[in-house]
């Protein structure tokens, strides 16, 4: 009897407790971002001096909290409050926040923390507080090499995002893309990689040959892309850590449009020969090649479903570019796009429920999503030219590229990366040092 009472008691207590804590709904456009205070991570003077020597940053605690703030702001779901209004000092706030003070500046959530220098390492602890309920929601500590300080900011943001939205974040990630320079008729293109927030930009190729469509392996730091090395357009594999490159699609013809399978063990790509493009897979371990489609039309832009059981792709077998879905062995081919216009670049969401695409209709380009059976088509953004969406690892944000219309003299061309939430809100340009196209989002680097 006592046990029964206890269970009932727990059942009542737990839901009401979780109900009382704040939640952010990411399933609809968030026009009212959650006010959040990011108190600078506190740091003792000795640690501060050590990090200043190693990292050339005056106060690494403040720098890390800036990263968290920018991440939260660009997500569109949070509104980080101005630090000038903070009443409590960072070190005291981390011990025990005076919730009335934070309530006063309308903060609903509060992030506090502490950085210290320990055995040549960077030790961070942080806490997420529900200001209204006056409760701690997350408390975590971890240690890493000091040069990883930016990632520390991203990992904290991921934890905060996950606790408040109930879904994994996408901040400790990188984006590989094609950096572009020069006139439109003679573009120089290089592979480039950067953190999700644009930091640590690095060029991976020199620009001697044309490179296109880099894509991350979802399970490792490998990338597959198309290179025109020696004027032979072929699919290549690149290990970002070692810089090792190898050709994987060396068939007598052109291989292009590569992507990894969800387990990272196969590459799926198009192979064009004698005026016909078909879809093939190659097993990276034993190099066994399988032909998946068999049709005299163009079959390209293949993308696996996250369970690996299906493939969506682009074909003009109906006479025009449309999106099709088939089983991963090539059987049961079904057209799923039936709206007005042309459809291209289908990409399966990492959550499995949606396919993102590019659509051309009446001279305008759209980025949109539809369910995997083609129903529920929703266009997120319209522009003169945009294409090639890539999903954030949590399936909540799409990154793509946009090109501008040139003027009467053919000038004014530019290509930039943009991102938009699945809700259609929070459309923003992703800053890159040069013009940019063909973005691909990595998986979460940690966990």
């Amino acid at each position: 009897m006592k046990i029964v009472i206890k269970i009932i008691f727990l059942l009542i207590i737990i839901p009401s407790k979780s109900f009382s804590l704040i939640e952010v709904d990411i399933t609809r456009g968030n026009l009212d971002p959650l006010p959040i205070a990011v108190s600078p991570l506190s740091i003792d003077e000795n640690s501060r001096q050590n990090f200043e020597k190693i990292l050339k940053k005056k106060n690494i605690g403040e720098e890390i909290s800036k990263i968290i703030e920018v991440n939260l702001k660009t997500s569109g779901l949070f509104n980080p409050l101005n630090k000038d209004a903070f009443l409590q000092a960072p070190d005291i706030a981390n011990l025990k926040p005076r919730f009335e003070d934070w309530n006063l500046i309308k903060a609903q959530a509060l992030i506090t923390g502490k950085v210290s220098y320990l055995d040549e390492k960077l030790r961070v602890e942080f806490r997420l507080w529900d200001v209204l309920a006056g409760k701690e929601m997350v408390a975590l500590a971890f240690t890493t090499v000091p040069t990883n300080w930016r990632r520390v900011g991203h990992i904290i943001t991921d934890k905060v995002y996950q606790r408040l939205t109930g879904e994994k974040g996408y901040f400790d990630t990188r984006i590989i893309y094609v950096a572009e320079e020069g006139p439109k008729t003679k573009r120089i293109k290089k592979l480039a990689i950067m953190d999700q927030d644009g930091a640590n930009n690095k060029f991976l190729t020199l620009g001697n040959e044309l490179v296109l469509t880099p894509r991350f392996n979802p399970t490792s730091q490998m990338v597959t892309y198309l290179s025109y090395f020696r004027n032979l357009p072929r699919v290549y594999l690149l290990d970002i850590e070692t810089g090792m490159q190898e050709v994987v699609g060396d068939f007598p013809g052109m291989t292009f449009a590569p992507r990894f399978s969800p387990n990272g063990k196969k590459i799926i790509m198009s192979f064009a020969k004698d005026g016909n493009s078909e879809i093939y897979t190659m097993d990276l371990e034993n190099r066994i090649v399988e032909k998946i489609t068999n049709h005299p039309s163009i079959d390209t832009s293949p993308s696996f479903s996250p369970d690996g059981k299906f493939i969506c792709f682009n074909s003009d077998r109906s006479g025009y570019q449309q999106i099709y879905v088939m089983k991963s062995d090539g059987s049961n081919v079904k057209r799923i796009s039936f709206g007005k216009g042309l459809y291209g670049t289908p990409v399966w969401s990492p959550r499995g429920d949606l396919i993102a695409f590019t659509k051309l209709h009446k001279g305008k380009f759209y980025i949109g999503v539809m369910r995997t059976d083609g129903s529920g088509e929703r266009l997120l953004t319209e522009n003169f030219y945009q294409e090639a969406p890539s999903w954030s690892p949590n399936g909540r944000v799409l990154i793509f590229y946009r090109e501008t219309e040139t003027d009467d003299k053919g000038e004014g061309f530019s290509a930039k990366l943009w991102s938009i939430d699945l809700t259609g809100y929070n459309e923003r340009m992703v800053k890159t040092p040069t013009d940019a196209s063909d973005p691909s989002w990595s998986s979460l680097l940690s966990n």
């Binding site: 006139p183 439109k184 008729t185 003679k186 573009r187 044309l210 296109l212 469509t213 198309l226 004027n231 357009p233 052109m254 292009f256 449009a257 198009s270 064009a272 004698d274 005026g275 016909n276 493009s277 163009i298 390209t300 832009s301 682009n314 003009d316 025009y320 570019q321 042309l342 291209g344 670049t345 590019t358 051309l360 001279g363 003169f384 030219y385 294409e387 090639a388 090109e403 219309e405 040139t406 009467d408 053919g410 000038e411 061309f413 063909d438």
Partner: protein, 173 residues
């Protein structure tokens, strides 16, 4: 009485309508004539349908042998003019049997990158097939698709796009 009145009104309305129709018809005709003039001016020597027929960007493999053929949007079908150009190329290549060539296929910027790569390949192969039927051995021809990566005209208008939808025959040796 009432009926008559209504008829009168109706007749008046019909008369008016006729007038309006006549005037608008005249207007429509005028518009048609004008637009026909405008478009024909634009297209003469420039475009037929949306296939480029001008010579602005064309280079020559030899005197009288144009190096490129043009395509309609999303098409890889050779036009009459394209076939004529390719027959000239074939004749030139038969005479100069040591020359090998690359057929570079291109698309305009109004399509997705990957589809355009496939489309460029299809266009270059359409040219290749035609050259082969005129006696050029396939081992003298290689095909290279650039998709939309190498436009000749950086404009964002139908004329620029028509110049970019092309297959160019380039001497490889």
């Amino acid at each position: 009485m009432k009926k008559l009145r209504i008829r009168n009104i109706d007749q008046g309305a019909i008369m008016k309508l006729n007038k309006i129709l006549k005037n608008t018809l005249l207007l429509v005709f005028a518009c048609f004539a004008l637009s026909a003039c405008a478009t024909s001016k634009k297209t003469t020597g420039q475009m037929q349908g949306d296939v480029y027929t001008g010579t602005d960007t064309v280079e020559y493999l030899a005197s009288g042998v144009p190096d490129r053929v043009f395509f309609a949007t999303n098409e890889s079908v050779l036009t009459t003019a394209s076939r004529e150009t390719l027959r000239k190329q074939a004749a030139y290549l038969r005479k100069n049997s040591k020359i090998t060539i690359v057929l570079e296929g291109h698309a305009d910027e109004r399509g997705t990158r990957e589809y355009n790569l496939a489309l460029g390949e299809r266009r270059a192969n359409a040219a290749k097939d035609y050259l082969m039927t005129y006696g050029i051995s396939s081992n003298r021809i290689s095909v290279l698709s650039y998709g939309k990566e190498r436009p000749v005209d950086s404009g964002s208008n139908p004329l620029a796009w028509s110049k970019n939808r092309r297959s160019v025959t380039v001497k490889a040796n």
